[in-house]
């Protein structure tokens, strides 16, 4: 075996240029796989973070069917008990109570339909980033009579902080229209079309008063230490007329995009493995035909067919090892560099989510252990065909064909 390993390694080094070229072809493929995977993870994490941290939260509790028909009367059942229970939950970093209703905003210049949220200004800071998105004016304070509106909506209504708008809503139970005047307290800009053009926030107490809800809320937004919770949590709060949903159910289109990205990666891997297989086979066969006479001589000297096959497989293993080392080095260097500098996709919308931050590829053990191992094994499998070919070689035919 030592002899075969020595022979295989020297054969690999024999045509250094060819070995390096084949190694680069496979290595660059592996490096691109490492980079793409790291970028996908970074993009996915950024998308989920943007979608959940901006306003949605990692999960929400509503009355059953509220999300489907948005009826103002459908408030969370037994709110006090739910809140008391949430306060005891481990791993729940923050939660925020909200009302949500359709409303009409009227300014002296224009009219706009919005989703009007009543928020607890202090509690909301732990769940969403409204306070960080204020570009004009200031964030809300408890009991405030001011309103926060999105930048696009401010443009439509032609208002700015200090201006007045009239809110018209339908009240709970009676359905009576209620109107109230608010001053614009601040303008936020999330760089998300839906939020900047169709959302407005007022103080929770004011909203309850305006909607005739008297201490009731439509939504509790949740923010966990970790993004995902087990089934038991959601089941526990999906009782007695309420439903608790994680972000995957709240924004299924994002979940679908994440699922698709896994398919994309699998497809990428398939292409890479195809390249690896062809590169290895091509290199081995080139080297094989070049040394046909030698193979004939080795067989003539009494090398068993299986040993000759082992020699070819060892050469495939050596070649793939060189390639994997090149790929890992290139992948680590390039991905590591981009992981520091980041890629600017800000403002681009994917799956209903607009990137708000630089995307940083995320390096993981899988990229540097599983991918190289897969490439190595695949290269070995690709070496089986030339190995079997070598084993079946008739010595005289090999020597004859080499001329």
């Amino acid at each position: 075996m030592v002899l075969l390993i020595r022979l295989a390694w020297r054969n690999i080094r024999r045509n250094t240029r060819r070995t390096i070229l084949a190694g680069l072809a496979i290595g660059v493929g592996l490096a691109s796989l490492i980079f793409t995977d790291a970028l996908m993870i970074g993009m996915n994490e950024s998308m989920v973070r943007t979608a959940t941290d901006t306003f949605l939260g990692h999960g929400q509790i509503h009355a059953q069917d509220f999300r489907a028909n948005m009826e103002i009367e459908r408030t969370i059942v037994d709110l006090e008990a739910v809140v008391a229970s949430l306060k005891r939950e481990e791993g729940l970093r923050h939660f925020a109570l909200r009302t949500q209703a359709f409303a009409m905003l009227t300014s002296p210049a224009n009219v706009g339909a919005v989703a009007l949220f009543g928020i607890d200004a202090a509690g909301e800071m732990g769940v969403s980033k409204i306070d960080e998105a204020i570009v004009q004016g200031a964030y809300l304070q408890a009991g405030d009579r001011r309103m926060l509106i999105g930048s696009n909506l401010a443009q439509t209504l032609e208002v700015e902080p200090g201006d007045r708008v009239v809110v018209t809503v339908a009240q709970a139970e009676s359905g009576e229209l209620a109107q109230e005047m608010f001053r614009i307290g601040g303008v936020f800009h999330f760089n998300v079309r839906e939020m900047d053009g169709r959302m407005a926030f007022i103080d929770l107490g004011r909203a309850q008063e305006l909607l005739g809800l008297e201490g009731r809320v439509h939504q509790i937004a949740l923010h966990f230490d970790a993004m995902e919770r087990d089934m038991h949590f959601w089941q526990r709060y999906s009782q007695a007329g309420n439903e608790a949903l994680g972000w995957r159910q709240l924004i299924p289109e994002l979940d679908a995009v994440l699922g698709m990205s896994q398919y994309s990666m699998a497809f990428m891997e398939l292409i890479l493995f195809g390249v690896v297989a062809l590169s290895v086979m091509n290199t081995l066969f080139m080297s094989f035909y070049e040394r046909l006479f030698e193979f004939g001589v080795l067989r003539a000297m009494g090398t068993r067919p299986a040993r000759l096959a082992a020699l070819v497989l060892l050469e495939a293993a050596g070649l793939s090892l060189v390639s994997v080392l090149i790929g890992v080095a290139l992948g680590a260097a390039f991905t590591g560099w981009v992981a520091v500098t980041g890629i600017d996709y800000r403002g681009i919308e994917v799956g209903g989510v607009t990137f708000r931050e630089l995307i940083y590829p995320v390096l993981s053990a899988r990229q540097f252990i599983v991918f190289p191992l897969q490439v190595f094994i695949f290269a070995l499998i690709a070496g089986v065909y030339p190995a079997v070919y070598a084993a079946r070689l008739m010595p005289a035919a090999a020597m004859r064909e080499s001329f």
Binding site: L3, L7, R10, N11, R13, R14, F293, E294, G296, V297, L298, R299, A300, M301, G302, T303, R304, P305, A306, R307, M394, P395, A396, A397, M399
Partner: protein, 232 residues
């Protein structure tokens, strides 16, 4: 290998090469026995079937019809591994072109068969040193084939063929790529070895020098034995 008189025997050997629609009869009913200790030349013009006969005798090629008996046993009864092991232990080959493994040194080339046989390293080294001295290549153990002249490479090939002390050495035009002086030197070396150790040599050749020095001359023409002459 049992000490039977005939090391290799071929009976009614025929070999047909097909190239598309064309059939070439390289051998047509050859019967030949090679006895232990012979120094035999198989001669004939190009295309007469010399190399084909040698290859089939060594189990490197399969006949189209007829039988090859190695040490009394038909080759067709041997499995691939058995045939490989038989070649490793009983037959040494020398080819016309320089047939050393380029990535191995002279010593490693010579050691190769012994390594396959599982000969201990110490014994291998001693035998390599002895055989290199015998073929006049002392001190060249660590040279790669590209660092040796054609004649030196062929001497290494002879050393490699002989080092495991096979029963027979089949040499396919071993002097064809050498100048006449080097060829003569090499031939003398092989003849000495034949005389000293009783090792059997069979050459395929159209080199007059080998034909003159061989103790048995078998001449092939159009795939048939035209003459088989034993000299004193």
């Amino acid at each position: 290998m049992p000490k039977s008189a005939e090391v290799i025997k071929v009976e009614g050997l025929a070999k047909v090469y097909r190239s598309g629609e064309v059939e070439v009869n390289a051998l047509q009913g050859v019967d030949l026995g090679i006895e232990r200790g012979e120094f035999t030349a198989i001669a004939g013009p190009s295309g007469s079937g010399k190399s084909t006969l040698l290859n089939i005798m060594g189990g490197l090629d399969a006949p189209s019809s007829g039988r090859v008996l190695l040490a009394g046993r038909p080759i067709s009864e041997m499995s691939g591994n058995e045939l490989s092991d038989f070649r490793r232990d009983h037959i040494g080959f020398i080819f016309q072109s320089y047939n050393l493994i380029p990535v191995l040194t002279a010593r490693e080339n010579i050691e190769y068969i012994m390594m396959l046989q599982g000969v201990p390293q110490q014994e291998r080294r001693a035998r390599v040193a002895a055989i290199l001295a015998e073929v006049g290549l002392q001190g060249m153990e660590e040279r790669k084939p590209v660092q040796l002249s054609g004649g030196q490479q062929q001497r290494v090939a002879v050393a490699r063929a002989m080092v495991s002390q096979p029963d027979i050495i089949l040499a396919d035009e071993p002097t064809a790529n050498l100048d006449s002086a080097t060829g003569a030197e090499l031939l003398d070396t092989m003849r000495d070895l034949n005389q000293k150790s009783g090792m059997t040599f069979v050459f395929s050749t159209h080199d007059r020098m080998i034909m003159e020095r061989a103790r048995r001359l078998v001449e092939l023409r159009d795939g048939r034995i035209d003459r088989d002459e034993v000299r004193d």
